[in-house]
């Protein structure tokens, strides 16, 4: 469904992604894990069209999307839940959700049906539908951000650090909802610093370190990989015989 070949992305002269290649098949949940500053959010932003790569290709359903604007990418079926939620704080919950379907607002009945689905997935949002979004808790804002992205009717959902700032019990609930969305046929790319949570719900994962993919494989294998632990604790070994 999505294939990325040799992506190089820079912020000015600062190279952040250095030849990244990965792919996602339809129906999968794929995780991208890595420490702070590894390039995860940059990759998500590039897929979503918010940044443009200097080199490399992104193909979605065999169509090159590198140079497309973000609104065109949304229309193709890719929706981003950005890092830090970035909901529209002065608007109500309902207005935030409606805005997620902005590019297809003419199809009112479909939009109404989809909103109903979002409320079924996140009943708490329905309870607070007329509440100002900025007054929601962190977990509720995350639900809102996911619901808003879902309204775009994506085939591929990009989740950037959904666990950020959330209590474990809320995070578990969010992760269950993400799994539920996947079971309904949504393909998901999830980027997370909380590697264990991401590896728990995904089937495959990639590990990124300073802008390069250094490891990939089934999530069940990577969960036990010492490299993941070292990457996250920022530990490296000085000598081969370090024990």
């Amino acid at each position: 469904m999505l294939s990325i070949k040799n992506l190089h992305v820079s912020y000015g002269r600062l190279k952040v992604l250095n030849g990244v290649s990965l792919h996602i098949d339809e129906g999968e949940i794929v995780a991208l894990v890595g420490a702070n500053g590894a390039g995860k959010t940059t990759l998500m932003s590039t897929i979503a069209g918010l940044l443009h790569a200097r080199q490399g290709e992104i193909q979605f359903d065999n169509q090159l999307i590198n140079r497309l604007s973000s609104d065109k990418i949304v229309k193709l079926g890719i929706s981003l839940v950005p890092e830090g939620r970035q909901i529209f704080a002065p608007l109500t919950v309902k207005e935030n959700i409606e805005l997620g379907a902005y590019h297809r607002f003419k199809d009112r009945q479909a939009v109404k049906n989809d909103m109903k689905e979002v409320f079924e997935l996140f009943p708490r949002l329905e309870e607070r539908k007329n509440q100002i979004a900025g007054t929601l808790s962190g977990g509720e804002q995350q639900m809102l951000a996911i619901g808003r992205a879902f309204m775009a009717r994506p085939r591929l959902l990009l989740l950037d650090e959904p666990s950020l700032g959330l209590a474990p019990i809320i995070l578990d609930s969010i992760m269950r909802s993400i799994s539920e969305l996947n079971k309904q046929g949504l393909t998901i790319l999830i980027v997370e610093q909380n590697a264990i949570k991401a590896l728990d719900i995904s089937s495959r994962a990639y590990v990124i370190e300073t802008g390069r993919i250094i490891l990939q494989g089934p999530s069940s294998d990577l969960k036990e990989d010492p490299d993941i632990i070292r990457a996250y604790l920022g530990k490296d070994y000085e000598k081969i015989t370090d024990r």
Partner: protein
């Protein structure tokens, strides 16, 4: 079980291999001192490798490289992550050492299980493994693969061939794991005893370590009443089942989910896309000891056509020879220079003329060392001469894992071969 990955499309394999190669290069560049030096020396930045076709610009790795970087410079993980180390004798000053993480061992077991399951091995089977001590590592892996499938396993024990046949009959072994030459030897013994397929319970033959010729396959299948399957592997990576036959038996499917194979001209190093050449492999999933473009020395051809079984994994033809001077005897690779060096150690460095003779007797190849009678080793006491001979034989067996018979011969006998440039003779008894 046929895992989905063996049926990927061409485009999907291209993407998969590009990803695996890139991440492998990133890992080895930052973690393996040998590869960092090598890639820097060649002026290659890992991020410049944009697709799998660029594999051909990368440098090769040889057995000599591994031996020369003993003990740690080939490891990509710290010693604490390594749970097993295999050591192989080499003709170089240091042994070849290969390390494995827990994940590496699980991958090897998975590949062995996948092959055996493909052959039809299951919990109802009794798997009898008959491999020489020199193949101890692979014996262990085949044992683990079979046990993983729930089969009853009879691992190799120091029994005679006749006793092994007795066990085969009494315990009704259904699967035989061995080399083709040993299987032919066992078959000849069963025929001597007047036994036919109806007297045995074998239904599957798994043959590794040597090429199985078509006429031998027919003989074994008819003689034992089994279906033959062939596996291929190398000692340095992946395990005994880097490639395996499916039920169609037209070539061996390479495990593309774990290796990236190619064929090269052994003299020029150029990649060959359609033709016989030396098999070169790049490990894609190995953590402890990744190998970049490792020259196996085995000559073969790779076909990329889809198999009748539906698998899209490339197939290699049976190995047709070697590009180097290693001898493959009963599944064990032997460097002749190692044998000559062991001999020189026993003569205090005296340059003794010697010749390796491979004698094929009852389908089994045996190694002999013909040594010229020289004053340096001419001992004026027969018992002492025999002692010296036993010492050399034991030393060679200790190193190569196969019995070796040392025969003192007249110098002129050796000269008649050496003068023709022959340093290895094959005799068929």
């Amino acid at each position: 079980m046929e895992s989905r990955i063996e049926f990927l499309s061409i485009d999907a394999w291209w993407q998969w291999h590009t990803e695996l190669l890139q991440s492998m290069l990133n890992r080895i560049y930052s973690r393996v001192p040998f590869y960092r030096k090598l890639l820097d020396k060649e002026g290659i930045d890992p991020s410049s490798i944009t697709n799998i076709e660029m594999l051909s610009v990368l440098p090769f790795t040889t057995r000599e490289d591994i031996a020369n970087n003993y003990p740690y410079d080939f490891f990509a993980v710290p010693l604490r992550d390594i749970v097993r180390i295999h050591t192989f004798k080499s003709s170089h000053t240091s042994p070849v050492v290969i390390g494995y993480t827990k994940r590496d061992l699980e991958n090897r077991r998975f590949l062995t299980e996948r092959f055996m399951k493909n052959c039809g091995v299951g919990p109802e089977d009794i798997v009898q493994i008959c491999l020489d001590p020199g193949m101890a590592v692979w014996s262990l892996e085949m044992k683990e693969g079979a046990e993983g499938l729930g089969a009853l396993v009879i691992p190799p024990d120091p029994l005679s061939a006749k006793d092994r046949i007795k066990i085969m009959r009494d315990f009704k072994s259904t699967v035989l794991v061995t080399t083709p030459s040993y299987a032919l030897y066992l078959l000849s013994l069963t025929e001597e005893q007047g036994l036919g397929p109806e007297d045995l319970s074998l239904r599957i033959g798994i043959f590794i370590g040597e090429t199985l010729k078509q006429r031998d396959r027919t003989r074994l299948e008819l003689g034992f009443g089994l279906k033959a399957y062939v596996g291929y592997g190398i000692m340095e990576a992946i395990g005994p089942i880097m490639a395996y036959e499916c039920g169609v038996s037209r070539g061996l499917h390479l495990c593309l989910d774990h290796v990236i194979p190619e064929v090269i001209d052994p003299d020029t190093g150029d990649t060959i896309f359609d033709g016989v050449g030396e098999l070169v492999i790049t490990t894609a999933t190995t953590k402890a000891n990744p190998l970049l473009r490792f020259r196996t020395g085995d000559m073969t051809r790779i076909t990329r056509e889809v198999c009748e079984c539906g698998r899209t994994t490339w197939r290699m033809e049976p190995v047709s020879g070697r590009s180097d001077n290693l001898l493959c005897i009963r599944g064990i690779n032997i460097d002749p220079q190692l044998v000559y060096r062991l001999l020189a150690d026993q003569t205090g460095g005296f340059d003794l003329k010697a010749l390796i003779v491979l004698r094929r007797r009852h389908f089994l190849e045996e190694i002999e060392l013909w040594v010229a009678i020289e004053e340096a080793i001419f001992i004026d006491s027969l018992p002492r001469l025999h002692q010296w001979i036993r010492r050399v034989e034991n030393k060679v067996e200790e190193y190569i894992g196969l019995r070796c018979r040392v025969r003192p011969v007249e110098r002129c006998t050796l000269d008649s071969y050496l003068s023709k440039g022959e340093d290895i003779i094959r005799i068929e008894d």
